[in-house]
C-alpha cells in the first residue's frame, strides 16, 4: 500500500471512531420526558421563539416551567422575525410564542391608533388576537422596547438626548434588522413621526449592531432596551420622546383552543413565570447569555430553580 492510501485509511478509521464515540453518548433532549404533574397526559404544546436572545430565554423559561409540571413541550427556537413567526402561528405550525404587546398592535394588527398606556396596549392586543382565534396570557412586568443608541461621543458631539434631536445630526447611517425597513416601529416611523429624512438604512442581522456601532460603520443603532450590552455604559440610549415604540410588555400569544385543552394548570404555570420577570431579572438573564455567553437553557433553569418553579 502506498503511503497515501495508508493515510487515507487512517483518516477513515479516525472518522469512524469519532462518530462511534459520539453516537454512543446520550442525546440531549429537545422535549424531555414529562415529570409528573397536572400536565401529564395533556396534548403536547409547540412553542416557538423569535430571532434574538431574549426570546430564546423566554422560550426556555416557559418550556422548562411547563415541563416541570408534566406538560410536553416541543420548542422551535430561532424561527425568525415577527412577520415570519406570526405566519407560523396562524398556519398552525406552532401553538404559541412570546410576543410584545406593542408589536402586536403596530406590526401584526397594523393599527392606526397608538394606545397611551401599557394596560390599553395589552387590551387592544388581546382584543385583536381573540378575533383571530388566539388569546394573550398575563403580561410580564418588564417591557422591552426598540430604542436608538449611539456612542456617547457622537451624542455629545451633536447634543443628542432624545430621538427628536437627531434632526440636528444631519445625515447618518442607521443599523437595524432588515424587517425594520418597512415597519412603522422602524424606519418608516422614524421618517414619518420624527421627520428624520437623512437616514441611510444599513440592514444588519440582530446582534451585529453593537459591533457595527463600535467600528463606526453606523452612527445610530436599533437596540432593545433590555439588551445586556447596554449595561456596560458604552452606549447612549436616546429617549423616545414621541412614543414611537409604545408599550412593549412581553406576553405569550396562545391558541385559544390550546388554553382550554391544556387545563387551568397550564395558564397558571405560564402566568407564574411571567409574574417573576421584572426588568432587573430579564436584564441579568440577558447579560448572562449575551455577555457571559451562557446557554439560555441553563440560565432559565437556574432562574426557575431559584424561584421554586422547577
Amino acid at each position: 500500500m502506498t503511503k497515501r492510501t495508508l493515510y487515507s485509511l487512517a483518516l477513515l478509521l479516525i472518522a469512524g471512531l469519532v462518530l462511534a464515540a459520539c453516537g454512543s453518548s446520550k442525546k440531549t433532549n429537545s422535549s424531555s420526558t414529562a415529570a409528573s404533574g397536572p400536565g401529564k397526559g395533556k396534548p403536547a404544546v409547540t412553542l416557538g421563539t423569535k430571532n434574538f436572545p431574549e426570546e430564546f430565554i423566554l422560550g426556555q423559561l416557559y418550556k422548562q416551567a411547563l415541563e416541570a409540571k408534566g406538560f410536553t413541550v416541543n420548542l422551535k427556537n430561532n424561527i425568525g422575525s415577527t412577520e415570519v413567526i406570526d405566519t407560523a402561528l396562524t398556519s398552525g405550525k406552532i401553538d404559541m410564542y412570546p410576543e410584545y404587546t406593542g408589536t402586536i398592535v403596530q406590526e401584526v394588527e397594523k393599527s392606526n391608533t397608538l394606545p397611551t398606556s401599557a394596560a390599553a396596549t395589552y387590551a387592544q392586543a388581546k382584543a385583536f388576537e381573540e378575533k383571530r382565534g388566539f388569546t394573550l396570557l398575563a403580561q410580564t412586568p418588564f417591557y422591552d422596547r426598540d430604542a436608538l443608541a449611539t456612542k456617547p461621543a457622537y451624542a455629545q458631539q451633536h447634543g443628542l438626548s432624545a430621538i427628536s434631536d437627531l434632526k440636528k445630526a444631519g445625515a447618518f447611517s442607521f443599523g437595524a434588522p432588515p424587517e425594520s425597513k418597512t415597519r412603522y416601529q422602524g424606519l418608516v416611523g422614524l421618517q414619518k413621526l420624527y421627520g428624520l429624512t437623512g437616514i441611510t438604512f444599513v440592514p444588519l442581522t440582530i446582534g451585529l449592531q453593537y459591533q457595527a456601532l463600535d467600528s463606526g460603520k453606523i452612527q445610530v443603532a436599533d437596540v432593545f432596551t433590555t439588551d445586556g450590552q447596554l449595561l456596560s455604559g458604552k452606549y447612549k440610549v436616546l429617549d423616545d420622546d414621541k412614543g414611537l415604540y409604545g408599550f412593549q410588555n412581553a406576553v405569550p400569544v396562545v391558541k385559544k383552543s390550546l388554553v382550554s385543552s391544556e387545563g387551568p394548570a397550564f395558564t397558571q404555570t405560564m402566568n407564574s413565570v411571567s409574574a417573576l420577570l421584572t426588568l432587573p431579572a430579564i436584564q441579568k438573564m440577558n447579560a448572562a447569555v449575551v455577555l457571559d455567553k451562557q446557554d439560555p437553557a441553563a440560565v432559565a433553569g437556574q432562574f426557575l430553580q431559584a424561584n421554586h418553579l422547577k
Binding site: T5, S8, L9, L11, L12, A15, L19, C22, G23, S25, K27, T28, G48, N51, F52, P53, F56, K76, N77, N78, I79, G80, V84, T87, A88, S91, K93, T205, I206, G207, L208, Y210, Q211, L276, L277, T278, P280, A281, K284, M285, A288, V289, V290, L291, D292, K293, Q294, D295, A297, A298, V299, Q302, F303, Q305, A306, N307
Partner: protein, 238 residues
Amino acid sequence: MIAIAAGPVIPSFGGSAHSCVRANHFFCWGWFKSNWSGVFQPALLQHLKLTLIAVAVGFVLAFAAALVAYRFSWFETPFSLLSAFLYTVPSLALFQLLIPITSISTLTVEIALVSYTLLILFRNTLIGLRSVPDEVLEAARGMGLSRRQTLLRVELPLATPAIVAGIRIAAVTVIGLATVAAVVGLDKGLGSPIYKAIQIGPFKTELFAGAVLAIALAVVADASLAVVQRLLTPWTRK
C-alpha cells in the same frame, strides 16, 4: 444569590464568565469544552443525520432516474433541466419557498437538500453508465448475458467510479448547505451555533467552533469517500 424585596430571586448564573469569553477572544477552549455536549455534539449529530438522509434519498431518486434515462433517452433532458433548475435556486430562497408548504421542520430541510443532490448524482450516474466501452457491451452480449445481467454485472460496476465521485460531491455539497437552514428558522445542525453566535455579537469562540466543525465534517466526508472510491475501483489506481 441576590434577593430583591417583593421580587424574584435572581441567582448569579454561575458567576462571572472567564475573562477570555468576556473579552471575546478568538477561541476560549474552556467555553468550548464545557459546551461541547450541550451545543456542539448534538448539532454535529443532527448535521450528520441530515446529510445521510439527504444523500441517501437523493441517491435513490437520482439513481432510479438515471436508470430510466439510460434506458429511455428522452427522459434525460426533462430530468436534467428540472434538477439543474433546482440546483441553481439559491439555498436561502429554496428554504423560504418551502416553509409555507412544509413548515419549519426537518422535512423542509431534507426536501431542499435532496433537490440539490439530484443534478450531480443523476449526471454522474448517467455519465458512468454511458462511459462503458462498446466493446465491453459487445462482449457481454456475445457471452449471452441478458440486459439485466449486463446492467448488474458489467455496466454498474464500471460506472462505480463516476457514481461514487458523484456521491462524494453530493455529500460535501449537502454538508455545506445544511448550515444555511438555521438562518431561515430551522434550528438544527451546525448552522445553529454559527447563526446564534452571529446573533450575539458575533461570539467568536462559538462561531469558529461551529464553522470549523462544519468544515471538518465536510473534509472528513470527502476524504472518506475518496478512500471508498479508490477501494471500490482497484483497476483505476495508477
